[in-house]
């Protein structure tokens, strides 16, 4: 039997999003839940759910920026540590891949595998190192995982855009712009790392709303 979402309760995914970003105990979720119940009884569930989502999306930027205001140093240190860690592990995917290629003579015997390993596999490994960096930043930033991870992702995203634009201007090779999609995947992986750590912390504190 499949479980259906409870239409009388707030949208679970919106609650989960708020819990990821709120740096308070549970009062924001409690306030949203209270107003949701009131609106649902007055104007219907569909209206209340739309209201809840609007409130969630409008609240997120404020919740992220308030973290920077509250703990600028801790957040900055976590972001800087993530940046340095990324520089430290930046070449690891290439080293690991080519060590594998050499050990098993992949270039000579399995050229199609070599092509995959030397291109897409390295991109995937890079995304995984960014995920690791996001997790470390989340751990360092304590309860400010999401703000720190988003800040670092924005820095990497901006660097990728500037680097790509500069490369295109100098070389005139517009086809290289497709690489931006991988760079944005890396930035997204940092945010996912923050989400993983935040979700684990909320679960440990038994504060995570279930998504059903």
């Amino acid at each position: 039997m499949t479980s259906r979402p409870n239409l009388n309760s707030p949208p679970r995914s919106a609650e989960w999003l708020v819990s990821l970003f709120a740096n308070t105990e549970d009062e924001i979720l409690g306030d949203l839940s209270e107003e949701f119940s009131l609106l649902a009884s007055q104007s219907g569930n569909a209206f209340a759910r739309k209201w809840y989502w609007r409130q969630t999306l409008k609240s997120l930027p404020h919740l992220v920026f308030s973290v920077f205001h509250e703990s600028p140093w801790l957040t900055t240190v976590a972001v800087a540590a993530g940046f340095l860690l990324r520089r430290l592990v930046a070449r690891l995917p290439e080293f690991a891949t080519f060590a594998l290629v050499d050990k098993f003579h992949i270039f000579e015997h399995h050229f199609s595998v070599y092509k995959f390993l030397a291109s897409t596999a390295i991109d995937i490994e890079h995304a995984l190192t960014f995920l690791l960096v996001g997790c470390v930043v989340g751990l360092l930033a304590k309860k400010r995982e999401m703000a720190a991870a988003i800040a670092l992702a924005m820095i990497f995203g901006a660097m990728a855009v500037l680097g790509s634009v500069s490369y295109v201007i100098r070389g005139g090779d517009y086809t290289s712009l497709w690489r931006l999609s991988w760079y944005f995947t890396d930035a997204l992986a940092v945010v996912v790392g923050g989400v993983i750590v935040r979700t684990a912390r909320l679960k440990a504190a038994d504060r995570i709303p279930s998504i059903s």
Binding site: D26, E27, G30, L32, R54, H62
Partner: protein, 110 residues
């Protein structure tokens, strides 16, 4: 001249809402009070970000209530304006009065 201890626009609005609400001021009532008086939709995130900032400055204090079932077992956080917050409000009002003195503002109500 002392440091920048005037209230920003939204800080000003939030403190006035707390004063209107007296001991009923928590997230829901503050948000609704601002919406009712300003006729603009306000997000709960903006309200809490401002209240947290005001609390850091010492302009408001908060206290949690017991969790209630209608809020999914979550508590309310009640806010009140401190004497330091009232002084900041008074200073901001005085400054605004001084700045508007002598101006013929088109929107001034009679």
């Amino acid at each position: 001249m002392r440091g920048r201890d005037y209230l920003g626009e939204f800080e000003h609005i939030v403190i006035l809402a707390l004063l209107h609400l007296k001991n009923r001021a928590y997230g829901v009532t503050v948000r609704q009070e601002i919406e009712r008086r300003t006729q603009r939709e306000v997000s709960i995130g903006a309200v809490y970000a401002t209240l947290d900032r005001l609390e850091t400055k010492g302009y408001v204090k908060s206290q949690r209530s017991e969790p209630t079932p209608e809020r999914g077992g979550r508590s309310k956080r009640f806010f009140r304006v401190t004497s330091k917050g009232q002084a900041a409000l008074s200073r901001t009002h005085q400054t605004l009065r001084k700045m508007t003195a002598g101006l013929r503002l088109a929107w001034r109500e009679s």
